[in-house]
Amino acid sequence: MNLEWLDAFLISGLFSVVVIIGLALLLHLQLGLTRIANFGVVGFFGIGMYSFGVMFTKVDWPFGDLPAFLISLAFGTLVAGLSGLLVGWLIADLDEDGVLVGTLGFATVVFILATTEQDLTGGALGLGGLKFPYDVGTVKADEFLWLIIVSIVVSLIFLYVWWVHRTPYGRLLIATGGNEPLARSLGKATFRTKLWLFAVGSAGMGLIGALFGVMERFLAPENLGIDVTLAAMVALVIGGTARAWGAVIGGFLIFGFFDIIVQSYIPFPKEWYGQAIPNAKLIVEGLVLMGVLLFRPLGILGAMQRDKLMRRVHG
């Protein structure tokens, strides 16, 4: 494959945009529809990434790379889903402060475990040995193929999230977020609904974490900073929490802009790239988050517009 036309920065930039969109889409189900502010996105992302990484590199697999890879991937997703179930059970009937404590606490727990369990995770030194389940020649080609694969996965997640708006399940999520006591009085088991939402959402975040880990090739606790949660939240909020397209638009807009255009194509002085630009990027993300929520709380796309949707579905 001749990939000379393709810039390596562009691949990694696009990859991070796709990963953030994936996380933001899952966050949309929790925050946008059900109004649960999950501040532990990075925890589920991280536990999926590490479970996959440990399973893949530490187990002596009797068969080829691809089956081992897929089994590990499934394992990472499962572990993330189960931890989502556990966290969901702990916090689903708590109020906003309980949710913040629980999800933030979970992210911290994952970070701590990644640091302390050196036998498994390599601790602060990191865990190497991850690789693509294929080899198509150059590193660049491998990465490009992986970008395509992950884009497909995220597209499927998008399709599901987009479609959920058109299902009784999606309606229940919106109702639970809008007025939980009222939903309960209509016979809806809102606690169980939130539990499942957390399990499914977390499994998805774990899967994305594992896929991200493959591209990184080397897992370290630095990957588990709060900026991952921030990124997903910013992408979702700027695009619009209430709409499925919000995550996609927000992701491209802010991270496409920063990770691709600013970091790769604008000729800033060399010494800025070390700290000034990443630092400025986070400041901008924070400002965007505040500004949007203050002055246009529903983001670029605005309100949910169920009226138009219902007309399209049942009109």
Binding site: R171, N179, S185, G187, W196, M310
Partner: protein, 264 residues
């Protein structure tokens, strides 16, 4: 009105409240020895401020937990008897027990149609993996929904309910779509225009004729006098009188509790 013979064939669900006590920060708000609701098709629950009417309804729905006592639903959906005071709120509707809300309650982002579909949908449809069920749900329930929409002249259902009155009405419609066997209405007509109130009252009568037990709390006593077959009068946390509207209206205790002793 229902004839005697008809009434005998219908088995109405009833609710029995026994030894139910609820107090808030040391003050007893509800204390009921033994109360049977649902003997008559439509029963009213009235009483002066602080008598505990709303609290009693919430206790029955278990959105306010009891300090002690039991509440039993006889002839629940499916015919059996269920002790409902141990059950969480979301189990009431499946047992056929439904309550409308006193204050305006609505879902922020859901259209009128959504609200109705939410009410008719069951847990079976609402699983994260059941993603192709919407058309079936709609087809199964469109007739029932249309009935209400036409009856109340709701207009376009694919919009979010606007006025407070419309939201209040939607709240009642949601309750009716749940096909209640035992329906409690907390001030159903407050905030509704007169012609809508009449339609709601008509529907309540029809529902009661078909075998649903209805209990109404209402501040506009004219509604109670006109609509109810029996009235329970509550004061200071317990039911002190039962009787026909005429009996209650003429009873000196009622006048005394509302107005004070000198006006008997």
């Amino acid at each position: 009105m229902v004839s005697e013979t008809q009434q005998a064939t219908v088995t109405r669900p009833q609710i029995r409240v026994q030894n139910a006590v609820k107090s808030f920060s040391g003050r007893v708000v509800v204390d009921i020895d033994d109360l049977m609701l649902g003997d008559q098709p439509i029963e009213g629950l009235i009483g002066p401020n602080g008598a505990g009417k709303t609290t009693l309804m919430r206790m029955i729905m278990h959105s306010t937990p009891l300090d002690s006592g039991t509440i039993t639903l006889f002839n629940a959906n499916g015919g059996g008897d269920v002790v409902i005071s141990n059950l969480p709120t979301h189990w009431m509707a499946p047992h056929g027990l439904v309550k409308s809300n006193q204050v305006i309650m609505d879902f922020d982002n859901l259209t009128i149609l959504d609200s109705m579909l939410l009410a008719v949908s069951t847990a079976r449809y609402e699983k994260p993996y059941r993603i192709f069920d919407e058309p079936r749900l709609y087809a199964d329930s469109v007739e029932r929904m249309n009935e209400y929409m036409e009856y109340f002249d709701l207009g376009d259902p694919m919009r979010i309910a606007g006025s407070a009155g419309e939201k209040k009405l939607l709240d009642i419609i949601r309750c009716l779509l749940l096909e209640p066997k035992f329906l409690m209405l907390d001030e159903p007509t407050a905030g509704l225009p007169e012609e809508v109130t009449e339609k709601v009252v008509g529907l309540i009568r029809k529902l009661a004729d078909e075998g649903t037990s209805v209990v109404i709390v209402e501040h506009d006593l004219n509604v109670i006098w006109n609509l109810c077959d029996e009235v329970h009068f509550m004061a200071e946390g317990s039911v002190v009188l039962h009787g026909s509207p005429e009996e209650i209206r003429q009873n000196s205790t009622v006048v005394e509790k509302y107005l004070g002793e000198g006006h008997v």
